[in-house]
């Protein structure tokens, strides 16, 4: 089961550049929320603030409140603890090049000291089935390296890797943008199936994708959250003119 995220007055900077301004948002549990907007509008930065990956950059800074359930992730917990509860899938697949498929998928557990072989095996199978990759790789789990798969398979393996630690939230930063259309549709199907078990936030450039998989959509522009509403409303009758301009393709 997933957990809801509450964001209050979130501001973020890279050095002296103010990249996110006064974001206020509630992301409901067990639903998929899409974030759309033109390049550089801050949606990736926002998502990285949700699992404190924003901080890995030494000149990055964030203020405000982000609550996962009742936990203030900036004040009540360490970044490492938060990232174990929030999974992340990146824009480009990033498997660990020296590890096999099996080791890649369970790396979140193994690198955190988990040793029980039986549970690791079960987790690997479960996650790969959730990511719809099990049938394709089940015979080569320990023989093939994670980097030897095709782009679409690698990304699904990265999704399996994120799911293996049983997170409550899954963040996806344009997960299909580097992939071919067939892989893209496979990943969209995945998101559709997974959203009942996890809270999913998916950043996308592709409005049709947002419309297909997400119940709610937020529109970012120049570091601000312009509008956040049900997907149906955003795409048929947006409240703000800027949203309407973006949807109809007048810019971006």
């Amino acid at each position: 089961m997933g957990v809801g995220i509450l964001v209050e007055d979130l501001n973020a900077w890279y050095g002296s550049t103010h990249t996110l301004r006064d974001i206020n948002l509630h992301i409901p549990a067990n639903h998929a929320t899409a974030l759309i907007g033109p390049s550089g509008c801050g949606k990736s930065t926002f998502v990285r603030c949700l699992n404190r990956m924003h901080e890995t950059n030494p000149i990055a800074r964030a203020t405000g409140v982000v609550k996962m359930g009742e936990v203030d992730i900036y004040r009540d917990a360490s970044p490492v603890e938060i990232r174990r509860r929030v999974g992340m899938v990146f824009q480009r697949p990033n498997p660990f090049p020296t590890m096999s498929i099996y080791d890649n998928v369970v790396s979140g557990l193994k690198l955190n000291g988990f040793r029980n072989r039986r549970i690791l095996d079960e987790t690997c199978e479960r996650s790969l089935k959730q990511a719809a990759l099990w049938e394709e790789v089940k015979d080569d789990l320990k023989k093939k390296s994670g980097a030897s798969l095709s782009g679409g398979q690698q990304q699904r393996m990265c999704i399996a890797r994120a799911l293996a630690v049983d997170p409550e939230v899954l963040l996806m930063d344009e997960p299909a943008s580097a992939l071919d259309p067939v892989s893209t549709s496979k990943i969209e199907d995945l998101v559709f199936q997974l959203k009942s078990q996890y809270t999913i936030v998916i950043v996308t450039h592709n409005m049709q994708q947002a419309a297909r998989v997400a119940e709610n959509t937020g529109f970012f522009l120049n570091g601000r959250l312009v509008e956040f509403d049900s997907t149906h409303k955003i795409f048929t009758n947006p409240h703000d003119k800027r949203t309407e301009d973006y949807i109809t393709g007048r810019f971006g």
């Binding site: 089961m1 809801g4 509450l6 206020n24 948002l25 409901p28 359930g69 293996a164």
Partner: protein, 354 residues
């Protein structure tokens, strides 16, 4: 649209959710805390934040990094400490006096300074044009297929140990200088006055030749790196004006890499100043200052290598250690200037080691 929150009122997550985005889907189904704990979630939630591990790790690697400073400080301190006898006795004049008499306790380092400078500078005179030639050949003229093998071969030269160069020097180069090259030089260049006196094969000339072979790889490979760092736009610009290949190299590449090449040459100088074994084996080991290149000589490094284990008496040992201290300081200064120059051209990319 987002609504304004009344300032000062405590609010639960559920209430906040109802205020914000009243029309979104799913507001009724929020879980305040995460679902039932699976064994994995249970395990991970009781794992620590890793803060202790991070701090320990950072501390350990910091200590190891500072060990580099410690090594330099250690060498400096111990050399100064153990040479204090000689420092106090002779002061600065140690480096201007010519005597080297262990029996009477009269020590002066001038002959060794002369030997070191003469061999190093002569080695540079021989090595730099050759190294430049090789660098130009490999970067601009060499067919692509031959580039890797030939550069590999020049780097093999750097892998040959000093003592093997010395061995080859004693049994191959010395007879060559004595019997073939020496008479030739006397015949053609005798008028310069540099080739007078008896020629036993060992001496400044032989040592310089061996040194030049040894410092050539480092000058050439660094020069190659620097030349390759010059952007292609420079080359193309000069070629577009109708220059020949050599003119393109001269104007487009060499002119831009002047500072870096000087730095590479200085690194070669630094290496030549400190080279010990091969020089000791072919220089004749006599503390004399003579104009002739056939004369035997002595360098700062060689005198230490030769006489250290037989040094009786504290003053003798202290004088030798002071020579080591001088060598240490000089090579540090030369290398520091050289690295700065190379860094200025390659902009801090990790320097080639060796």
């Amino acid at each position: 649209m987002t609504t304004e929150r009344e300032p000062g009122s405590p609010v639960s997550m559920r209430d906040r959710m109802l205020e914000l985005q009243p029309n979104i889907e799913g507001k009724g189904g929020v879980a305040e805390v995460g679902g039932p704990l699976s064994p994995i979630r249970a395990y991970l939630s009781q794992r620590g934040s890793g803060r202790v591990g991070d701090k320990t790790f950072a501390g350990v690697v910091l200590v190891c990094a500072c060990s580099i400073f410690a090594i330099v400080l250690f060498i400096l301190t111990i050399l100064v400490f153990r040479s204090r006898l000689s420092l106090l006795q002779f002061g600065w004049r140690f480096f201007t006096r010519q005597a080297w008499n262990p029996v009477s306790g009269n020590f002066g380092a001038l002959p060794f300074i002369y030997g070191t400078l003469a061999t190093s500078l002569l080695a540079l005179v021989i090595a730099v044009p050759l190294a430049l030639g090789v660098a130009i050949f490999l970067t601009e003229l060499c067919p692509r297929v031959l580039r890797a093998p030939i550069s590999f071969l020049t780097e093999l030269l750097a892998a040959i140990p000093s003592v093997v160069y010395g061995l080859w020097g004693i049994f191959v180069l010395v007879p060559l200088i004595r019997d073939v090259v020496g008479p030739f030089l006397v015949k053609t260049f005798g008028w310069t006055g540099l080739f007078v006196g008896p020629n036993f094969g060992v001496g400044i000339l032989t040592a310089s030749i061996i040194l030049s072979i040894m410092i050539l790889p480092i000058i050439s490979s660094l020069t190659r790196d620097i030349m390759q760092a010059v952007p292609n736009s420079q080359r193309e610009g000069v070629l577009a004006l109708g220059a020949t290949k050599w003119e393109m190299i001269r104007i487009g590449v060499l002119r831009n890499s002047r500072i870096g090449i000087v730095g590479a040459v200085m690194l070669g100088l630094g290496r030549a100043l400190g080279e010990t074994m091969a020089v000791t084996m072919v220089i004749g080991n006599q503390p004399a200052i003579a104009k002739s290149l056939f004369a035997p000589g002595y360098t700062l490094a060689s005198v230490i290598a030769n006489e250290f284990s037989e040094a009786t008496g504290d003053l003798y040992l202290s004088a030798l250690i002071e020579i080591g201290l001088a060598l240490f300081l000089v090579t540090i200064v030369v290398n520091a200037i050289a690295r700065l120059m190379v860094w200025a051209v390659t902009r801090g990319a990790p320097a080639r080691v060796g």
